[in-house]
Amino acid sequence: MNTDNTSLDQKKQQARNKRFLQSPQGKSLTWLSLSVFTVVFFLIMAIRPTVITITKLIKEIEEKEAASLLLDKKINSLIAAQKVYAVNSQRLPMLNQALPEKSEFPWLANFLDGAALSSQVELSSLSFEKINLNPQKSSPCQLINFSTNAKGDYLNLKNFVSLLESSRRLIKIELTGISETKKKGEEKTNTMLQLNISGVMFFENE
């Protein structure tokens, strides 16, 4: 009984649908749906790839225009740097003298000796601390610690320190100490001063 009612309802529904589709309203709705589906099909198959390509090209053009501007700026700054280099190229060796690539501590020994001679002080000792041959790459430069003792009168010792301070090579004087020494051996004892200097010398970390 129930099955008969269900199939009867279905038949009535089908008949109603058929009548609706054959009516003018139904026909126009059918055509509208077909049109919309056609539009959707072409949207997915044709319009979507076109829109994606257009977007990609526009974005690439913008990025490349910005990159071109940056590269132009870089070229201009390189040209300016080249001019500055040309003007100052003869003075560049002074930078190597100030901060050489290697330790060159024999130079320091010679320099201290020469400074002692020209300022008429007597160098009684000179020592260097160890140099690390495998330095850490993070630090921009390496150090050589040195210490020296010089004897002489006050003015000469002052000249000696001035010569160290005015050295073109980068030297940092960390500690100075002056003490009195007495020289016996003559009729009068001469009071001499002893200067202890501890310092640091720099060179480039390759």
Binding site: V40, I47, E63, S77, L78, A81
Partner: protein, 55 residues
């Protein structure tokens, strides 16, 4: 149903464009190393000072 299909198509186009734009942003045209611009100005006082000193 047709309107739903239309909406799905529009959303799909939008997602496609968004994905392309995101992919392009992740890959810049030039690397930071290539875009680095050096400062061409030189402080000549360093040289003047070094010239005064003894070596």
């Amino acid at each position: 149903m047709a309107i739903l299909a239309l909406l799905v198509a529009v959303v799909w186009i939008y997602l496609g464009v968004f994905k392309v734009l995101k992919r392009l942003e992740e890959k810049p045209v030039l690397t930071p190393q290539e875009t680095k611009i050096i400062n061409p100005q030189l402080d000549e006082e360093v040289f003047d000072e070094l010239e005064k000193r003894n070596f």
